[in-house]
């Protein structure tokens, strides 16, 4: 074995670190949790994006029109042979549903609620979750190849659960196919409206999502203006207080 100089070894170590640093782990905007203020600062709309995995049927939630390895690590906490940690491959994930909320607080709450429900399903109430699933003859989650349809169905159920539990009114769910939303009885009609995502070539999915974001942002700004005007007319006490007093200009 040829001897290596110390400089060579150092260089090699340096290069490996560089390679690791350069590794793409997903959309940078999707990295990390976004509070309501963060969303506003990043010019994002109060939305939650649900991506389905075409290979395994699992669903990934995101606050942004993109996803990151960190989200996968966070949302698939206890992988096993039936519920493997999905790959980040961007040809595997397709948008399943875009949910527009009435406010940023709602969007953040819904995202947190969905992630929490996923964790509960995978950890605390594992047995309970399994009871409601369709099983095959061997008593495992029904599958075909590697595809387990139950995961996306659970995600839809969780969305309905969150909206109803927190009473997130004026919500619009835009589905890739209305087929997925299931029977009407699962949804609170006074809280949610359903719509279809525009038909898009999957190649331009990101463009479509960005347009939806812009649209939602615009709609939200309009609504905010409207509600502010009404509150000013009503002369609520909040408007009489100058809350900017003492703040640096």
């Amino acid at each position: 074995m040829a001897m290596k100089l110390r400089a060579e070894k150092k260089m090699r170590k340096h290069l490996i670190e560089q390679l690791k640093a350069r590794k793409v782990l997903g959309a940078r905007i999707a990295q990390g949790f976004k509070s309501a203020q963060d969303l506003q600062k990043l010019n994002l709309a109060p939305q939650v994006f649900m991506y389905k995995n075409m290979f395994s049927g699992q669903v990934l939630y995101s606050q942004t029109p993109g996803y990151h390895q960190d989200q996968i690590d966070e949302q698939f906490v206890r992988p096993n042979w039936e519920n493997r940690k999905p790959s980040r491959r961007n040809d595997m994930w397709r948008i399943m549903c875009v949910v527009n909320f009435a406010s940023y607080e709602y969007a953040v709450a819904a995202y947190e609620g969905l992630v929490q429900l996923r964790k509960v399903r995978d950890t605390m109430s594992r047995a309970e979750a399994k009871q409601t699933r369709k099983l095959n003859e061997d008593g495992n989650i029904w599958y075909y190849g590697q595809y387990r349809p139950t995961y996306s169905q659970e995600a839809v159920a969780d969305l309905a659960h969150v909206i109803e539990e927190f009473e997130l009114e004026n919500t619009t769910a835009m589905w890739e196919s209305l087929w997925r939303k299931g029977e009407e009885e699962h949804w609170r009609q006074d809280l949610v409206q359903h719509d279809v995502l525009p038909l898009t070539n999957p190649r331009f999915e990101t463009v479509m999502l960005d347009e939806l974001r812009e649209k939602a942002l615009h709609a939200f700004a309009q609504e905010r203006e409207l509600s502010q005007n009404t509150e000013l007319v009503e002369g609520r006490p909040t408007d009489n207080v100058d809350i900017t007093e003492g703040l640096p200009v």
Partner: protein, 296 residues
């Protein structure tokens, strides 16, 4: 300023809410059952083209037929049957077979689950359709070979041969020869079998005139063989030849005789021929309508 005011407004609204925006205790969460997708959420157009892949179209209740409904005694089309069919018919038949095979394979896929993988019945049905398709290809191949062979021999030679056969044919075989003649005049001279299908501008050309002479020579030749001396030869150009194309030989001979007696029959100049033929065919075409009007 707006964002700060907005924050207060929102927090005021949040205070009004009775429900908190988080799960109180994760341990007390009652998970919901998975929501199964359903087709009731959208309408499928009743004339969606994909319905063609189901046996009863949009009325289809089940993909799988019962075993009694399968036509187990069916058979593929035979070569002699297929040889009688035109290209258009074969083309249609090919796609009907393809469609049926598609339906059968769908059924077989479902049957695999239900009959424990025993789909021999469907395989047998499918084989029939496959055999039909192979035979259609074989028929077309035969036609192509015949066509290519015909290209090699000169048409004059063949026409002479056919003329001899036609004139000397038995009375029993003449019907078959007449049919053959119709095909021949279409194949070599482009003369349509049916008068109504003529495009007067395009179909009346030099080839047509040649064919007309040939057909008249054949029919008259055969007529004269049984009735020698019925008409003086030769025929005087297209004016006397046309009746043999559009009428029976007996009627045509009568017509030619009448024309000769009246003295209207003459040999047309080349420049007059097409115009004459167009007018004459147009007149013959409108004959049945005039007859019908007279009857009324």
């Amino acid at each position: 300023m707006i964002s700060a005011r907005r924050a207060i407004l929102v927090s005021a609204r949040t205070l009004q809410r009775t429900k908190p925006l988080r799960f109180a205790d994760p341990k007390k969460i009652r998970l919901r059952e998975p929501i199964v997708p359903t087709h009731k959420n959208f309408d499928v157009s009743p004339d969606h083209p994909l319905w063609a892949f189901f046996r009863d179209g949009n009325k289809t209740e089940t993909v799988l037929r019962s075993k009694d409904d399968l036509s187990t005694d069916s058979r593929p089309w035979d070569m002699p049957e297929l040889r009688l069919k035109s290209f258009d018919d074969l083309h249609r038949l090919w796609y009907l077979n393809a469609l049926e095979r598609n339906r059968i394979s769908t059924e077989a896929e479902v049957a695999k689950e239900i009959y424990n993988g025993d789909v021999s019945l469907f395989t047998k049905l499918d084989d029939n359709h496959l055999m039909t398709q192979k035979r259609i290809k074989q028929t077309l191949l035969e036609r192509q070979v015949a066509y290519e062979r015909a290209q090699l021999s000169s048409p004059e030679e063949y026409l002479q041969l056919f003329e001899d056969k036609y004139i000397n044919a038995d009375e029993s075989a003449i019907a078959e020869y007449n049919e053959k003649l119709v095909r021949l005049q279409y194949a070599i001279f482009g003369i349509e079998p049916d008068l109504s299908e003529y495009n007067l501008e395009e179909d009346i050309n030099v080839k047509f005139v040649e064919g007309l002479s040939y057909v008249a020579k054949l029919k008259l030749g055969r007529y004269l063989a049984s009735n020698p001396g019925a008409l003086e030869l030769p025929l005087n150009g297209v004016m006397e030849e046309l009746p043999f194309l559009v009428r029976d030989p007996e009627v045509a001979v009568e017509e030619v005789r009448a024309m000769r007696e009246e003295g209207v029959s003459r040999k047309l100049d080349n420049i007059e021929v097409f115009a004459f033929l167009r007018n004459a065919i147009e007149a013959v075409r409108s004959e049945p309508e005039e007859l019908a009007e007279e009857e009324n």
